[in-house]
């Protein structure tokens, strides 16, 4: 996968919010790249900057926020510094987004067909009938039964799961290269979430779209993604293939995160807990922002660690990382890695 040139390459992306209370560095030096058909999970606590990263990729950051630096290259083209008109042409065609709350992402007073057809006709001079046909096909593709009737319905006539499918169908309409999915299943029921995950995976495999799946649920990432990036306070602190990261987290934060998932632990036992809470982005400590909550932190942590490669496509940002679970264990099966993880906890 790393052989083919990446569809999306993000480097040192920085998006800041200039609020009355100060500058919130919501995204502060995020870098990653995404290959064709690749699914990347972006995990992190609430407020760590996941959504803002997603918005930045589509140029949708509203004042008081602003992309202050870095580079986003989509298929080799630099997006930062483009005009709003250029962005508009890109959105929905080359890069699309799905939001968390399916109840809120569709305009409640417009019919589904209106909302779908406009998305097609905004980008190509397609006839109404053709656009409708494409919309119908898109609905069918995401598993909505009797799409013809559904086109004429209003969003409130759909359940949450159906709405999210419609949103996905809209994102797919113009077959973008990259889809940013911002916690699209968090608000849904477990069984519905399973259905959507199933369909999304199928679609990615079929169309070769790359996807960034934003979530705070490690289990979903484990089930869906090829690789995972863990964000903390606006920065990516660890990145790598899913199995490797979940089985052998290097960064203490990732380590704590994985350890706090109950099913990783033996029943009834105390969970690993990360003390404290996420820092305010307005007053980040100098150096490693996780240091105040980190059991391993020492004086060195007052200096900002760089994102360094850790072998096996992995990278992390820590002065005192956990050891990978033995040279041999890195490639070990999930079972074994799970055991070691638990033993440590």
């Amino acid at each position: 996968m790393s052989q083919t040139p990446p569809v999306l390459q993000v480097e040192d992306l920085r998006t800041h919010f200039f609020t009355r209370a100060g500058v919130a560095r919501a995204v502060d030096g995020v870098s990653f790249s995404l290959g064709r058909g690749e699914v990347m999970g972006l995990v992190g606590e609430s407020g760590s900057g996941k959504t803002v990263t997603g918005f930045s990729l589509l140029g949708l950051v509203d004042p008081p926020g602003r992309i202050v630096g870095g580079s986003i290259r989509l298929g080799g083209e630099e997006l930062i510094g483009r005009s709003e008109r250029d962005w508009q042409a890109l959105r929905g065609t080359r890069i699309a987004m799905i939001f968390q709350d399916p109840m809120m992402t569709l305009n409640p007073v417009l019919r589904i067909d209106t909302q779908m057809i406009e998305a097609i006709r905004a980008h190509a001079p397609v006839s109404e009938a053709d656009a409708r046909e494409r919309a119908r096909a898109a609905l069918a593709r995401v598993g909505i039964p009797s799409p013809d009737e559904r086109l004429a319905a209003y969003p409130h006539q759909f359940s949450g799961g159906m709405r999210q499918r419609v949103a996905i169908a809209i994102a797919l309409l113009n077959e973008p290269d990259v889809i940013v999915a911002d916690e699209p299943t968090t608000a849904l029921d477990v069984t519905i979430q399973a259905q959507i995950l199933y369909e999304v995976r199928k679609l990615c495999a079929e169309t070769g779209m790359a996807m960034i799946w934003i979530t705070h649920d490690l289990a979903v990432v484990g089930g869906l993604a090829d690789k995972v990036a863990v964000m903390y306070a606006g920065r990516i602190v660890e990145e790598g293939p899913v199995d490797a990261v979940l089985d052998g987290p290097l960064h203490p934060y990732t380590h704590g995160l994985v350890g706090s998932v109950p099913s990783q632990n033996r029943r009834g036992q105390k969970l690993t807990q990360i003390p404290g809470m996420a820092p305010s982005l307005l007053s980040l400590p100098p150096g490693c922002s996780f240091a105040p909550r980190c059991a391993r932190a020492d004086g060195a942590c007052t200096a900002m660690p760089d994102l360094v490669a850790a072998g096996g496509d992995r990278a992390m940002r820590c002065h005192h990382p956990h050891q990978p679970p033995g040279e041999t264990a890195v490639r070990a099966t999930g079972e074994v890695a799970g055991e070691t993880g638990r033993a440590r906890a």
């Binding site: 799961g161 477990v190 259905q195 705070h216 969970l271």
Partner: protein
């Protein structure tokens, strides 16, 4: 189980929410209209025993009646049918102080740490109000008592003059727990109590629950849709679907092999960090409207094994192994 009196017993508890017809609708009916009262069977004939010190996990999809059942247990709702029996006494039959005591012994911990605390009250009042009103603690000792409660849930008593909005989500949840503990309950109903918390905070609160259980010998009804959490915490798991209990089993047994097709679907298809990249075979369809639930077994439209009988006859909950009950016609076929 026999002989030993359960701490809490639900006998055929139902809770219906009815929207009555108004005069205009009745009039329309008189002239041949067909307006019906809308009845939601939020909880439908649920029987359940909870023994002292036990942690019972209650899972199910959204709208299946988990919270309603929790509220009935906590005494916030009166059951439409059936009995809630607390330490052998029907709560509905109690009155005065006895009733109040029974009510106080069962406390609830809520989902949303923000909305479950009155934003206009200081922490000290939130926690101290009930003990003071009920005279559980002499008025002079309330401040010390509040401090004690705060410490118990791991908060600095110095914060007690603050308002809820000045705390983080996890801290607020602790305040909610302290408020419940302040009336010295025996039984906690936790309704999605960690769902709204951040990943790293969830573990803190879960650990607190486990500590309280060992320290105070509390009994829990733990409502959650996160199977991982339920598995981790509970001794027994009850699975609900559209107001009915479909399966109830000891945790280990259930997670090793659920009996009801719905339970199986739920357990299988939910992503878990230790089972990655499995091929999903999700249950089809969505949870039906509780206003017009399917006939017979509520699950039959989504069930891969549904038969004609499932469409007509409501399956009864029957014991398939000691302490393990399930409501599925397939069990009869096998038996």
């Amino acid at each position: 189980m026999t002989g030993e009196q359960p701490l809490l017993r639900l006998e055929g508890v139902s809770k219906r929410f009815t929207k009555h017809l108004d005069a205009a609708e009745k009039l329309v009916n008189l002239v041949g209209g067909r307006r019906r009262e809308e009845v939601v069977h939020a909880v439908d004939d649920v029987s359940l025993d909870v023994r002292e010190g036990e942690v019972v996990g209650l899972v199910g999809e959204s709208g299946c009646g988990k919270s309603t059942l929790g509220r009935v247990v906590a005494g916030v709702h009166q059951p439409s049918d059936g009995k809630v029996i607390w330490r052998g006494k029907n709560v509905a039959g109690l009155s005065g102080a006895a009733r109040r005591d029974a009510l106080l012994k069962i406390q609830m911990i809520f989902q949303d740490p923000m909305s479950s605390l009155n934003p206009r009250m200081r922490v000290a009042d939130i926690i101290g109000e009930a003990p003071r009103v009920h005279g559980l603690v002499p008025a002079a000792e309330i401040p010390a008592y509040v401090d004690e409660m705060l410490q118990r849930v791991g908060l600095d008593p110095a914060y007690k003059t603050r308002y809820p909005h000045q705390f983080s989500g996890g801290q607020r949840q602790r305040i909610g727990i302290a408020r419940a503990l302040a009336v010295k309950p025996d039984f906690l109903v936790c309704d999605e109590s960690i769902a709204a918390l951040d990943v790293s905070i969830q573990a803190q609160v879960l650990n607190l629950f486990m500590d309280l259980r060992t320290d105070l010998g509390l009994t829990y009804l733990f409502i959650s849709h996160d199977l991982g959490v339920v598995e981790h915490l509970s001794d027994r798991v009850v699975i609900m679907y559209l107001g009915r209990v479909v399966e109830s089993a000891p945790t280990e047994a259930l997670f090793s092999g659920p009996n009801h097709p719905y339970a199986r679907a739920l357990l299988d298809e939910v992503p878990r960090i230790d089972r990655r990249k499995r091929e999903f075979q999700p249950v089809k369809g969505e949870i039906p409207s509780p206003l017009s639930p399917p006939s017979g077994c509520h699950f039959h439209p989504r069930c891969p094994h549904a038969t004609a009988r499932c469409r007509e006859e409501v399956p009864r909950l029957r014991e398939i192994a000691p302490g393990w009950t399930s409501a599925c016609h397939l069990n009869d076929a096998g038996a």
